[in-house]
């Protein structure tokens, strides 16, 4: 490997670490609710502190238990969203690409499409 190769490796690691730090700064708190969107449009908002099983237009099933949301079933062939681990922290998502379903944890009651604002969540 040339010197430049090592520099490239180092640069990627630094960028990834930087992004990770930014992510955890925004995301480190447990969220309050899970927002489900289908094709970019709001499907429903569900509190994380109540256990529930949510059927999403017959193609996906989301289960909320112990403050975590988990995709337990999907009708798509690859099942990537089902394999994904349960989400509970602000900003975490489960995505089912074939059905264009996204479940995202948000920190406060702000569901108008803007990013959940961690600072506001504290102020409330």
């Amino acid at each position: 490997m040339k010197k430049n190769d090592w520099m490239l490796l180092a640069a990627v690691i630094v960028i990834a670490a930087g992004l990770y730090v930014v992510n955890t700064w925004i995301i480190h708190k447990p969220g309050k609710e899970v927002v489900v969107t289908v094709e970019g449009k709001l499907y429903g908002t569900y509190p994380l502190n109540e256990d529930a099983v949510i059927d999403i237009q017959g193609t996906n099933r989301l289960e909320i238990r112990d403050g975590k949301a988990d995709m337990v079933w999907a009708d798509c062939p690859d099942k990537l969203c089902v394999h994904q681990k349960a989400i509970q922290r602000n900003g975490e998502t489960i995505v089912c690409l074939p059905n264009q379903v996204v479940a995202e944890v948000k920190g406060d009651g702000n569901t108008d499409g803007s990013e959940a604002d961690g600072v506001d969540a504290v102020a409330h």
């Binding site: 690691i13 990834a16 670490a17 994904q84």
Partner: protein, 166 residues
Amino acid sequence: MRHKIAFLGMFTAFALIASYIESLIPFYFGIPGVKLGLTNAVIVLVLYLMGTKEALAVSFARILLAGFLFGNLYSILYSLAGGMLSFLVMVLLKRWNRFSVVGVSMAGGVFHNVGQILVAMAVVENVSLAYYMPPLLISGVITGMLIGVAAREVLKKLPAGNRRIK
């Protein structure tokens, strides 16, 4: 010329087999999109042994064929975005001549993942997927490095006269 077409066919078959093997390996880390990128080894080899046009042809044929055989429309869309972006970056880096095969392959691995996540963001119309960027960058650079080392060794082992297929 006929010689070249035979090689292109062989490399496409090789890339397709790599796709198939990869689909058999349950390589799952809890993060969607983390893959070994075996097929990239073939693309890197064609890029160095034959050239840009030939590597692009093999990459494109591989994505379409693998998509129809093992995937669906979405996996084609995904692979196309990742494959083409990573290909572009690899060609530019190779031309720039400041990186070895390993560096070129690492950049390919990273930008394959970047391309896929960009498409995923567009498809689901949600930018919070950027959350997956750090682990995907790291996995891309590591798998790219392994694939690059493999490609470098293959290139080294070829007899000097066969390092360029005309």
